[in-house]
């Protein structure tokens, strides 16, 4: 555990002395801030959109969180590419591998540091819809479900990014591959909305349902609508742990 803490502190330190992470933080905040302002402007110009079911929490909160997922899709690969690919390329990974730190501590330390950084982003994102509480009553249950979902999405993106980063020694390759995988997960959600029931050998395949079950975004969507189901949360937890475990396996393969 000491090694995990040491590595996490070190990685966080490195993140915060790098202009890349500050720029990412600033760009994310700018984009989401603009979207937040736009959706508020929209509501004030067309107050009739606030209906019986879709309150201000769902419209503004849901909109910001959904857009945040898209931004994360682009931001996370740039963060995770450094974790293993860049470290391997520079030879710095040897420092940790030759130190009395087990592989799981290295992976967990890097994951914790990235989540620490993303949590800062998370707080900034959460502050926007929550600031509306000063002016209007909010559906806090709905917002917290969405926020939990956002945090879980961050963790799963991060885990998958770490895994892809551990596959290669080229940081740019890691970033692009991670982006590709995340986009595929996104597409998976789009596919799940198709009304397509292929019949194979006399049985109807629940194609849409399968795609929906696999899609990360689909599970997030339920949380955004305020439906907090343990199945969705479990999906994210298993997804994250699974990819972290794969990363450890991949690093161990490096030695052999």
């Amino acid at each position: 555990m000491n090694a995990t803490r040491a590595i996490a502190a070190h990685e966080l330190n490195r993140l915060f002395v790098s202009p890349l992470s500050w720029t990412l933080l600033a760009v994310t905040q700018l984009l989401l801030g603009i979207l937040f302002a736009l959706s508020l402007t929209d509501i004030s110009l067309n107050p009739q959109t606030v209906g019986e079911y879709d309150g201000i929490s769902a419209i503004v909160g849901g909109g910001v969180f959904r857009f945040a997922t898209v931004v994360l899709l682009l931001v996370v690969p740039l963060l995770t590419m450094r974790a293993f690919a860049e470290e391997r390329k520079s030879g710095n990974l040897d420092l940790m591998l030759a130190a009395p730190a087990p592989l799981w501590a290295i992976v967990l330390g890097k994951f914790a540091a990235l989540m620490g950084y993303l949590s800062l982003m998370f707080v900034l994102i959460a502050a926007m819809p929550l600031s509306l509480a000063l002016f209007t009553p909010l559906d806090l249950g709905l917002l917290s479900a969405g926020l939990i979902g956002l945090w879980l999405v961050m963790a799963s993106f991060c885990a998958i990014g770490l895994f892809v980063s551990s596959l290669t020694r080229e940081p740019t390759l890691a970033a692009i591959a991670t982006l590709g995988v995340l986009m595929l997960l996104w597409l998976c959600y789009a596919v799940s909305t198709f009304d397509w029931q292929p019949v194979v050998l006399g049985t109807t395949l629940p194609f849409g349902d399968i795609a929906h079950a696999l899609s990360l975004i689909g599970h997030h969507d339920a949380l955004l609508r305020g439906v907090f189901s343990s199945a969705d949360v479990l999906y994210f937890v298993i997804f994250t742990l699974g990819f972290l475990a794969l990363t450890i396996v991949r690093l161990d393969m490096d030695r052999h």
């Binding site: 803490r5 070190h10 420092l95 730190a101």
Partner: protein, 311 residues
């Protein structure tokens, strides 16, 4: 004797996709010993060192560091190990102090002892004045020293330096050489290089690797101090046979233009006899230089590619 062995490696083998990079290497290192690992490029030096450092698993063989088996108890073994890879594993964006603090934490130095450990490592490596500077702004020589400081901060029993002098200018080179000699007082050190003079300068023991095998493992002893090879230049020299007939001379080789390379029999110091003879015979001795045991020619000989190696 057994407890004095700080590092034991037996039958190390490493295959890369069907190609055998290291083939049955045995090494052992006692307390306070400096071992120089020599070999041409691609001889398997780095692979061997990476296996010793635990960053690469051997395909076969056993490694023990300070009594801990690297495969069974890697964490304990690695606690007694300091490793400087081929490229110093430093972070350009951190200051020397930040970096060494991380390394100290990584090697589980208790918080209370950390400050002293870092100060000591910096003092040993001559880094006192650059603690607050970014590693990326330091010269290659200083970065190399930071890499060494990282390896010694936790005072391990065994230090492994992979080509610590690669790419340094002659002054930096001397600095690193002196540093290694100083460290040898308290640590067992393995230094690899493909430059002979480097190894001769620091190592008390020389291991030469070739095609992944140990072809020489020698501890140059007392005999080493008697120069075995004498280069002489004579203005009106005799024939090669005349020189070869002198007492204590093993072989003579004419290197042209009145120059000869005379190899003495083991244990014979032929320098004064050679000078005296030259004066008596009127050969007009112009120059005489002598070498320590000729590692260079042995290195060349041992690492020459003979057909049965290639098979």
């Amino acid at each position: 004797m057994e407890s004095d062995l700080k590092l034991v490696a037996q039958g190390l083998v490493r295959d890369y996709a069907g190609r055998r990079a290291v083939d049955g290497v045995d090494l052992s290192l006692t307390r306070g010993e400096v071992l120089g690992l020599l070999g041409p490029n691609g001889a398997g030096k780095s692979t061997t060192l990476r296996m010793l450092a635990g960053t690469l698993a051997p395909s076969a063989g056993r490694i023990e560091i300070a009594g801990f088996d690297m495969a069974r108890a890697p964490l304990q073994a690695k606690r007694h190990l300091g490793y400087l890879p081929e490229h110093p594993p430093v972070y350009a964006e951190l200051t020397v102090d930040e970096y060494l603090k991380f390394c100290a934490r990584l090697h589980r130095i208790p918080r209370a002892a950390r400050r002293d450990a870092i100060a000591q490592a910096k003092a040993d490596c001559g880094l006192e004045d650059v603690g607050k500077r970014l590693i990326g702004n330091l010269s290659k020589g200083y970065q190399q020293r930071v890499g060494i400081a990282q390896a010694i901060v936790h005072r391990p029993d065994v230090l492994i330096f992979d080509e610590p002098t690669a790419g340094l200018d002659p002054n930096q080179l001397r600095g690193i050489r002196e540093l290694v000699a100083r460290l040898a007082a308290n640590h067992s050190v393995i230094v690899s290089s493909h430059i002979l003079s480097e190894i001769e300068a620091v190592a008390a023991r020389v291991v030469i690797l070739h095609h992944g095998r140990v072809v020489l493992d020698e501890r140059p002893s007392g005999i080493a101090h008697i120069p075995a090879v004498v280069d002489i230049t004579l203005r009106s020299g005799p024939s090669t046979q005349t020189l070869a007939a002198l007492a204590g001379v093993q072989s003579v080789e004419s290197t042209g233009d009145g120059r000869w390379r005379v190899v003495a029999e083991t244990g014979h110091d032929i320098r004064s006899a050679l000078a005296e003879t030259a004066v008596h015979q009127g050969w007009q001795l112009l120059e005489m230089t002598s070498h320590a045991p000729d590692l260079e020619s042995r290195f060349r000989e041992l690492t020459r590619d003979v057909p049965d190696h290639a098979a």
